[in-house]
């Protein structure tokens, strides 16, 4: 027991170091006054200098704003499409072309991103020649490109949620006189909303940090944030990238903590309800 406790304790510490030291060092160096990333300037640190530089950098701000708009649109569109695809796959029975739909919606998950990006690029170019749209690459092609792979994830999330969903709830609503459309809005959607939300969040994250596909489908002047970071790093790591990364990490961490606290509260409440019901049973 003690032997195993000692062993797993060490492994836990090593695991945490492996996971968090890179992030922690990045955060620490974002407060470094020195221009050289690898040298700690003890005399002038810590400083918020690089955060200031970051917020006066038009390129970064522009890219962040573009990334935000692309991520919001892409995740919303893919949530709607993924919801429809998920419902079709989980509820419409073995219709003609079901396995094709299943294969095509989940293909982007296993397809190498370079291939997806290249084929999207070729498609957009061919489309522009044939019908005159899109006019060059830009935000619309970015959104479409991101939707093409985000939708796959939403579909999988929704479909698995619907598979574990008691179908008699929908039948009961129908039995009580609700038409299919009404059943969807009153019963199905409220009950799978958590899955839709998590699909949306997943899409947002994927779209926000996608680099490979964006490289293919972005046009001149429409660089997303990951593209800007990547191009900056290629010229040598500049300290303001550390600051930018720190901001992104703290946003994500806040989100995760809030979600965890909310989940725990919900769990406590349902435990209390279950106890209440058990007491009523006596």
């Amino acid at each position: 027991m003690t032997r195993r406790g000692w062993f797993s304790g060490v492994m836990l510490v090593l695991g945490l170091i492996f996971l968090y030291v890179p992030i922690a060092s990045m955060v620490v160096y974002s407060f470094n006054a020195s221009r050289l990333v690898t040298v700690w300037d003890a005399a002038h640190s810590p400083t918020l200098k690089w955060y200031g530089v970051l917020f006066s950098d038009g390129q970064v701000l522009h890219a962040a704003w573009l990334s935000l708009r692309v991520a919001l649109s892409a995740s919303t569109i893919s949530s709607v499409l993924g919801l429809m695809a998920g419902i079709a796959l989980a509820r419409f029975g073995p219709f003609r072309g079901r396995s094709l739909l299943l294969g095509m919606t989940t293909a982007p998950i296993v397809m190498p991103e370079v291939i997806s990006g290249l084929s999207l690029l070729l498609l957009f170019i061919a489309l522009e020649r044939a019908v005159g749209w899109p006019h060059g690459m830009g935000m619309s092609t970015l959104i479409l490109g991101h939707v093409s792979f985000c939708m796959a994830y939403v579909t999988v999330v929704i479909q698995s949620r619907l598979a574990g969903f008691d179908q008699s709830l929908e039948e009961a609503a129908m039995d009580l006189g609700a038409r299919p459309v009404r059943v969807f809005w009153a019963i199905t959607l409220p009950l799978i909303l958590p899955a839709v939300v998590s699909g949306w969040l997943l899409s947002f994250t994927l779209s926000w940090d996608d680099l490979v596909i964006s490289e293919f489908v972005a046009g001149p002047g429409s660089s997303t944030l990951p593209m800007v970071i990547f191009s900056k790093v290629r010229l040598g790591v500049s300290p303001d990238v550390n600051a930018l990364a720190t901001i992104m990490v703290s946003i994500v961490a806040t989100g995760v903590v809030v979600a965890a606290v909310w989940m725990r509260r919900r769990q406590r409440r349902s435990e209390r309800d279950a106890q209440l019901a058990a007491a009523a049973n006596l």
Partner: protein
Amino acid sequence: MDGVQDRDLTVPMVESRSQEAIPEPAYLRLEGLSKRFGEFVAVDAVSLEIARGEIFCLLGGSGSGKTTLLRMLAGFERPSAGRIWLDGQDLSAVAPHDRPVNMMFQSYALFPHMSVEKNVAFGLEQERLPRQEIRARVAEMLEIVQMSRYTGRRPHQLSGGQRQRVALARALVKRPKLLLLDEPLAALDRKLRERTQFELLNIQQRLGVTFIVVTHDQDEAMTLATRMGVMDHGRIVQVGAPAQIYESPANRFVADFIGSVNLIEGRVTEAGSGTVLIRSEAPACAIRAVCTLPCTIDDTVWVALRPERIQLQQAQHEGAAVENGLSGRVRDIAYMGDVSICLVEAGATLMRVTVPNSSGVLAHIARHDEVRLGWNASAPVVLLK
């Protein structure tokens, strides 16, 4: 739960359950109803007539087609052939949301994101009734199922018995012409089940709604049903009052499915004047039985003997084998409280005998004792198939 709920249990049930003849015309009529899933025939040309106000139980094992039949009545499955007539209206092609039929699901299917009140009101809201009327009818219905104190609760805050009541209220509040109940008591524990059974009967009589209950539990079917239909492989093999089905099963399947039974295969050696004599090899005995079926000498028949119709005695006098009796050795005795179940070895066959513990017979009989089994000529039921 609490004492309030016991108050209505004393409504006399016996008189109102004696309605056996179906008044014409039938309220619900199924004509050659079938359902095939590919090659598999789930329901096979079922024809059935049910009177208004009846509690009809469909009893069968898993895969017997009883649930598919119920789902066709609700409209969730489209019949492959046949018609459904309810109160003069052909329901066969009517969508589930337009049928004057409601269903209580086995899982209750209460909407988890709605309060008790909202759950019950859902059906009325679909009819776009005035808000006042909805509130009044929901309150009235919750009063009937004694759930008025819990209107604001969510389903997960209720116990199993309370959920069952809400599900019942939700299905009844639309005043359906027909209420379908899918294993209504299966999710309740034994004590609660018994009490709920009587409450269900009570509510049914108050509202006069026709019930169709699907169950695999024969006790449930026996206590609830005015009539029941036993299903096997998609067909209804016998329809009748519970006592009729128990006392005179139509075939071996029904005899074996309802209650426990000793089935003995034998040959007719004497026939005529209302009784037959049947000789059996395993166990070796001669059975004289009252029989009105057309059987002739040398026919192979089966005899169903209910364990409680057999008398158990100590083997005192070794007599020659008389009719309606056989000798054996007690292999096991299981004490069940009110009765004891004895397994008696007669040759290679095991006979099951139930003995009321109050009779005192078992005071002198222990395991491995030689015993004698006997029965009256009215006890055995002769079955041709």
